[in-house]
Symmetry: C2
Subunit: 279 residues, 2 copies
């Protein structure tokens, strides 16, 4: 019960703050996202390496450089350059510290960057998109909504457990409930926005786009959740950290966000491209 | 001596073909680069996993998708989307094949994609750049020029061996000779282009830009070469393959290209940005 209360308290304090910062957007939101990505990245690195290592600093600097490139130039060429520069820097470390640096550490450093800050940066890319202030909320509803509905449906109807998966205590019924629930939230959200902003700007097709985005978002929310469980099992840890009382570390809370955010960005880009909106 | 002859024969046949395809550019060049990247990627994967694995197919498909995105949309947003899609697909595999797929295989699959096709794709991005037909040649002169000059200088003056590095038989004098040689080639190339095309288009500042690009290109050619040696030592192999008689596999020949190409793209973008050319 204490755990439940701590979870609830963290949510009650944390969620309005998240909503506020997402609403504000801009440099403040970007800076906050960069900080969150840095903490999450450290959790990932320490989970794999069991300690801090000098090469991880390259990952942190790359994170700051990457978010800086987003802040200065938005999505596009400079992000590719930042990413490449990071990979080459890691390889340079491999050469310079040849005898003392296991190659597995280099590879994990690169993968961690992709897994945490790179994927997470799509939250900012969606928010700063011309129509992002409408669609960024779907990242939250798809991942947290799917989580909540999956938990509820699973508790009530869960019979067929997900054996041989990273989370064997979860059930197939829960997954389906989570996807349906999150998709419905997206549909309702689209209808509400459409009602208030009508068929103009990004609000055009928003019912369709929001529903489709939420559906795919929910599926990949589950994948993100299970993938993080697989990583945790591999690293033999229960949680990535203990920053949020009752919720674990940043990566325990963000495990779905990091897969949902790019999917939302992708779905937006693809669907805007189909309906002929500028991207 | 037989080895020398086979090397020479491969070069005499191969180099004019490379020059022809680079000169032609377009879809044919892009397709060829994609094929080369696929072969190189397989060499990398097999070096690490010691055999073909199902998950590698994701890497090959991602390579084709990535080069397809370059072909269709050029550098920018869609490349980020292709890359993200690939990472998420690998994580999906991790979830689906949880018990049979070691997480190290997932991480290596992602790293291999970045190391080979992603980095190599910058050859195409440079070539297809508005001024790329001037600058793409610097990728070849910086990497092969540096190799050749380093070999010559090292053979003649090499005294201080690079102990404790992945290539202990190479010498410090060789490195310096390689960098000076490649930079001089860049300078001469810039002067020649400037002479024939004058101070217009990309030819503006080409002497300066070509020299600077070649200098950094040569440094990162050496890093690429040593990093590949470190990978080979880790995987306990002498060569990545035996496709080119006397030269080894694709990755043995491309080990510098994959680090030089992004550096050339980066240096072009940064210097054009400084001199105020559109990028």
């Amino acid at each position: 019960m204490t755990l439940f209360l701590r979870r609830a308290a963290t949510t009650i304090i944390g969620l309005p703050l998240v909503v506020l910062f997402v609403y504000l957007g801009g440099k403040l939101f970007l800076t906050l996202c960069c900080a969150v990505a840095l903490v999450g990245l450290r959790e990932f690195y320490v989970a794999f390496s069991k300690k801090d290592r000098l090469i991880h600093v390259i990952g942190y600097l790359a994170t700051i450089g990457y978010f800086g490139a987003i802040s200065e130039f938005g999505a596009g060429n400079w992000l590719l350059i930042a990413l490449t520069f990071f990979v080459i820097t890691v390889q340079t470390c491999l050469v310079v510290f040849f005898r003392t640096l296991p190659i597995s550490e280099c590879i994990t450093t690169v993968y961690g960057f992709l897994y945490v800050p790179f994927m997470f940066s799509f939250v900012v890319l969606v928010r700063e998109h011309a129509f992002g202030h409408y669609y960024v909320w779907l990242i939250l509803t798809a991942s947290f909504g799917c989580d909540t509905f999956a938990y509820l449906t699973g508790s009530l109807f869960g019979k067929n457990k997900l054996k041989n998966t990273p989370s064997p205590s979860k059930s197939f019924e829960g997954l389906v409930g989570g996807i349906i629930g999150a998709t419905l939230i997206g549909l309702v959200y689209g209808v509400v926005i459409n009602h208030f902003f009508g068929e103009k700007d990004a609000a055009a097709h928003i019912v369709l786009i929001a529903t489709v985005i939420s559906f795919f978002g929910a599926i990949f929310s589950i994948i993100g959740d299970l993938a993080a469980s697989a990583v945790k099992r591999h690293c033999e840890i229960k949680d990535f950290g203990n920053l949020f009382p009752g919720h674990g570390g940043v990566m325990d809370r963000m495990d779905s966000i990091v897969t949902v955010a790019p999917i939302v960005y992708m779905a937006m880009t693809v669907m805007f491209w189909f309906v002929g909106l500028e991207i």
